[in-house]
Symmetry: D2
Subunit: 102 residues, 4 copies
């Protein structure tokens, strides 16, 4: 399993993008993959092909009405690990001996 | 105010890095700046100089015992906006007409 | 056409990674897609599906002998534009009225 | 010494950004630090404080006439290494036993 953190951003729609982010999040939420939205992107957990499939779905949707799109993605691929969305945060909290804001 | 999403990663410590992430999070938590930890990084809100100061503090700490460090940072700088950590997520949820996993 | 800038990095191989970067570059060079290597990553030009196919090929290769892999990718997707690898740099130089180091 | 790869992008200026990239590159070129422009960003070599100083200069310049700015930065900090802009590429070519497009 892998984690993919990503954001997708049309460049020709001005400074207010929440409408476009909402479209991507709706696709992510409907995908059935587990995810967490944060203020700068979304982290999704899945197999490699599932993650690229979801990225493609979000891209094809934005492409319909935007002439230029910027996508940033980061992958953390770790063999034999699942449930990493919560486990990574718990592991950091255990090492630090305190709870952090999530 | 600006948001800075970042992660800091020593390259010479093997695959398990939660001990090093815990050190960075402790510095962030002690900084007094508002932040949210996610499974792939941390988003902090502050003025530009505060954010770069915090990034430097985390870097100097890791530098003490690592020969090679990779840092990834993304900034979203918006004039006249504060409280963006929560506001950006609410705005996306309002546009989508549903709640997302955070 | 789109540009994809990416880097791929095993986390369990220590601080010297040029051997692993060389494997990825060999795959990129053999792909037939146009690209430019820079000191922090590689920029490739192609159709969306070609770019994700190349990313997958590089990932599957590293996965063979690494337990944890970090991939960072950035896409710039622009309708009706090709030859952007050189054109983007020329366009910046024209606007600035000077040549830059490439 | 460290390498910083970065891009800076106003979000409220439409899809054509070469004029704004040209302003950033002019500042980088005038800084005296060594750098390489690529189709998706610029890689600069310097000490940590020099790199953050340059990033700040570019940000303050864009801030003058943009209401929202996105900055992406990646750092590769390695003790006792300089001249990495060329050395990293040569090292990859040596390992691969061939020349790549740069």
């Amino acid at each position: 399993m892998a984690l993919m953190e990503f954001s997708i951003m049309p460049l020709d729609k001005g400074a207010g993008l929440s409408e476009y982010v909402a479209r991507a999040l709706t696709i992510i939420d409907d995908s059935g993959l587990d995810y967490r939205l944060n203020p700068m992107g979304t982290v999704v957990e899945g197999e490699w092909d599932e993650l690229l499939g979801l990225l493609t779905k979000c891209y094809r949707d934005q492409e319909k009405d935007s002439g230029r799109i910027i996508i940033q993605a980061k992958f953390d691929c770790r063999k034999g690990v699942s449930g990493a969305l919560d486990r990574k945060i718990r592991s950091v909290e255990e090492k630090a001996g305190r709870r952090f804001k999530v």
